[in-house]
Amino acid sequence: MSPGSGGGDVPLSVEDFSLLRDAFGARMGLSLSSSTKPALERRLRERLAVVNVETFAAYYQFLSFDPGADEEWEALYDLLTTSETYLFREDYQLRAFQDEVLPLLADQAKTRRRLTVWSAGCSTGEEVYTIAMLIHESSLFSGWDVRVFGSDISKRCIGVARRGVYGPSSFRTTPKEKRRAYFIERPDGSHVVERIRAMCHFGQMNLLERDKARLIGRVDAVFCRNVLIYFDPHARRSTIDLFHERLYPGGVLLLGHSESLLNVSTAFELLHLKEDLVYRKPRTFPGVL
């Protein structure tokens, strides 16, 4: 609880918008164009009351310098990011992953018999469970140590993801047979079955914090779909470098259909699949990166 008169109708000036935009960019990688100013002003106004400041300039100062600002940043992660997602999203890419990428990875990882897939920016977890279902169905990894790790900047999203209980909007493109096979219907929603849940792990992570990302270890594939589009070029570059660092040689990176590494990184090579293009960390580049 925090008394105070709060934001009221105090306007967000162009200069304060720029300062806040930079702060969000530095901390979260977010790229906010000037057209987002009205929406940002609306969304942040109630936060002024929560942290008991009266102007956006003071709010910026609070975020930048106050020792207690971490809690406020947590709230902002929820406020400023999009959590809209659903199961089996962009099915052509998932088909390519299942039919062409997974056999490739099974071959590459056959000696270690361990497969790790990272869904970076997994929101409420639908993608993580979808990937686990695809791996399960491929039958290529029986007896392997399979882990699908989902990370998101929002603690709330990770909480939802861990529960693995979804409502109708998460099933907008899910084939009926998959829903029957992988979910148990209960009054509070559709629960992911245990054999799939057991493959999935979640953690809160800011993709710009490299040290924390290193805790994941090496991975065979990274899904990062519709995340980089919200990032500024610096954050995009840093995130792609992070993926490159975390991937095994020959590991693949799958981006959203409107995203590409053009102008971001030349460290990946393009892998042409029948239905999709994915990026692969080259296998034999001694001395590079």
Partner: protein, 696 residues
């Protein structure tokens, strides 16, 4: 071969493209004719990664004049398309220095080369380049003409004069017989956001090839005739045309000054064509195309048919179209409220909250049904719903709502409690009588003491005084209450008590606040520091500045002293400008920025040399409030700062001025800036004038 290029050249012979790319990268550290030769080789490499790296490296290699000549020569290349395209990319990366050569190329090169020269000019914002592009609109080759029309779409980046020139030339190109050129001209006019008369586009809508594009461009035409035509075009046999017409119509209404009149015309036209209405409803269900769905929802809002409200409410829960659905409901207005609330009651918590938050925006004054719905929602348990209901009551509620809202002032959810506290203050300032009555029922040691503090504090605000509150009679009672509340165990109560005392002011209140400076809670101390500033008590603040307190307290004291005694604050702030702690340095910048006189500028200039980018940006904000010629130059110097954030910020500030000197500084930096984020800001700074200049 010199030793500088021997290593990179060897790598360029490797089979592995990554090795060749690294070779090119290393060429960037060598200069001279040999390095240029090898960069040219790399520009023609079979692998795109190598070519891309070479285009970047070419922009940094010296002597630049030789590089440009060689790159222009590459535009004559007939077989290696990769080389030609990479040369274009390199010339664009070089910037303004490429322009004279590219203009010459428009005369000297063959048609293919001229098209490439046009691409270069399109990529570099430059007035002379724009002039050359307008001339290329009458080139003998159709492809060159079309490319020139396309390239002019970015002319706004070269300033208002270039923007105006481009619009004028492209408008003329619309009346030529060249279909490809007219198509490109239409697209560029859309890109330039040209506000042209509907009469210019109207004939083009009859051309099957141009119809869609003309309709798109007409979205900027705020004309009754255009609106009527676009509304009719939603009924076009071609669904693609209908989609574009709907989007253009909504754009047209969105940007118009006389929205109501245009909306009335659009409504009348659409209602006269039932098949158009039905098509809009069908578009509103197109889940695969959120732009179309959003436009259709806005159109439904315009039509104001109650049976469409459920669809608009569904739109609120779809993040892709939520803003459009909200706009639609605003267009719909008060008539949507009852259906909106009905749908909200049936919906899940987030959607219910969204519907409630719209109520105050759609109702004028206190609508009975709406008020009832907001009051009912106060019984909800979901934080989103509660917050929305409390916010609604802050606007529409009255004295009777105070107690119910007050019940949430101690809610465990910080967002709910903060919203409730803010709402109490707002309602109390409108209804001081009931507010006072409620406040007097609350003792200072009760769990609800925070409500007592807020309501008593609110009754002392100017709004409440205007509404009839009588402070004199109650001042001593209030001070006694706040004194008691300062002993409360809840930190929030103590903080609210300090704020209340600040609202009373005067030496008695200041004496009570002084005790709170020793509070064990940081938040209360900071509130007390701020209160001292508001009450005008300089001495205790100066003591705090000298007492070796925590940085946050010193920063707050400095800001408060700025309110209590500006001259003393100025002197106290000066030494802190160089503090290593960015919190202190920023507070000093802010304090000095609020003063007047020559030393203000001097102090802020000093802060521009601070090593923390946040401090530098704070100084830039203060300097931007009063841009003298000297200030402009210092802000311009920040374009060379190591921090890209500072460079971007400086570019934005310079872009907001009308000074030609600022423009020159931005232009000069654009030519050598490598960071894409800063480049974009610089380009926008140059383009910003085109909008304000009103050259169209």
């Amino acid at each position: 071969m010199t030793s500088d290029v021997r290593g990179p050249a060897a790598l360029l012979h490797e089979l592995d493209p990554e090795a060749r790319r690294r070779g090119v990268q290393q060429l960037g550290e060598a200069n001279g004719p040999e390095a240029i030769d090898w960069v040219l080789v790399a520009l023609g490499d079979v692998d795109w990664r190598v070519r891309k790296e070479a285009a970047t490296v070419a922009a940094s290699i010296e002597p630049r004049a030789t590089v440009i000549e060689r790159l222009l020569g590459a535009l004559r290349e007939q077989t290696n398309v990769g080389l030609r395209n990479a040369a274009v990319e390199a010339l664009i990366a070089i910037g303004t220095d490429s322009v004279p050569g590219a203009i010459r190329g428009l005369v000297e090169l063959d048609a293919d080369g001229r098209k490439l020269a046009v691409e270069v000019l399109g990529g570099v914002p430059d007035l002379a380049g724009t002039r050359a592009l307008t001339r290329a609109l009458v080139d003998e080759d159709a492809n060159v003409r079309a490319a020139a029309a396309e390239a002019l779409g970015t002319a706004g980046r070269a300033g208002s004069e270039a923007h105006g020139l481009a619009i004028s030339a492209l408008t003329s190109a619309l009346s030529t017989a060249d279909p490809l050129g007219r198509l490109a001209a239409l697209q560029s006019l859309t890109q330039l956001e040209a506000d042209l008369a509907w009469e210019i586009f109207e004939p083009l809508t009859r051309d099957p090839l141009l119809r869609r594009h003309a309709i798109r461009a007409a979205g900027r035409t705020h004309d009754v005739k255009a609106v009527a035509a676009l509304a009719r075009a939603i009924g076009d046999r071609s669904v693609a045309v209908a989609r574009d017409a709907l989007a253009a119509l909504i754009d047209c209404l969105g940007a118009a000054a006389d929205k109501e009149e245009l909306a009335r015309v659009a409504r009348r036209e659409i209602r006269a064509m039932p098949h158009v209405e039905e098509r809009i409803r069908a578009f509103a269900h197109s889940i695969d195309d959120s732009r179309l769905r959003g436009a259709a929802l806005v159109a439904l809002g315009l039509l104001r048919v109650r049976s469409d409200v459920p669809e608009l409410v569904r739109g609120l829960s779809d993040e892709d179209v939520a803003a459009r659905a909200e706009l639609a409901l605003r267009w719909f207005g008060q008539d949507a409220v009852s259906s909106l609330l009905e749908e909200g009651r049936k919906a899940a918590a987030p959607l219910r909250a969204a519907t409630l938050s719209l109520v105050p925006l759609l109702t004028e004054g206190a609508d009975g049904g709406a008020l009832e719905a907001l009051r009912e929602a106060l019984r909800a348990t979901d934080s989103d719903v509660l917050t929305a209901a409390i916010q609604g009551l802050a606007v529409a509620g009255d004295g009777a709502d105070l107690a119910a809202v007050a019940a949430h002032a101690t809610n465990a959810d910080a967002r709910v409690s903060a919203t409730a506290c803010a709402a109490l203050t707002t309602i109390a300032s409108r209804h001081p009588g009931p507010s006072r009555a409620l406040a007097e029922t609350i003792p200072p040691d009760s769990p609800a003491a925070v409500v007592g503090c807020l309501l008593r504090g609110a009754s002392l605000r100017p709004g409440a005084l205007a509404a009839g509150a009588q402070p004199d009679r109650t001042e001593s009672a209030d001070i006694a209450f706040f004194r008691g509340a300062l002993d409360h165990g809840d930190v929030h109560v103590r903080r609210a008590a300090v704020d209340g005392l600040a609202a009373i002011g005067g030496p008695t209140a200041a004496g009570v606040v002084a005790a709170a400076l020793a509070d064990e809670e940081h938040d209360v101390v900071l509130a007390a520091v701020r209160a001292m500033g508001r009450i005008g008590q300089a001495e205790p603040l100066v003591a705090l500045l000298e007492g070796g307190h925590a940085a946050a307290v010193v920063a707050a004291a400095l800001r408060a002293l700025g309110e209590a005694s500006p001259s003393r604050a100025f002197d106290a702030a000066w030494p802190l400008l160089r503090s290593d702690d960015p919190l202190l340095a920023s507070a000093a910048v802010e304090t000095i920025g609020q003063q007047r006189g020559a030393r203000r500028e001097q102090g802020l200039f000093l802060a521009l040399d601070h090593r923390d980018p946040d401090v530098v940006k704070s100084a830039l904000v203060e300097l931007s409030r009063d841009m003298s010629q000297r200030t402009l130059e210092r802000v311009g110097a920040c374009l060379d700062c190591a921090s890209y954030e500072v460079r971007r910020f400086a570019a934005e500030l310079l872009g907001a001025t009308e000074d030609p000197g600022a423009r020159a500084l931005v232009r000069a930096r654009l030519d050598r800036e490598a960071d894409p984020v800063v480049r974009e800001a610089l380009a926008q700074a140059l383009g910003a004038r085109s909008t304000r200049g009103g050259a169209t």
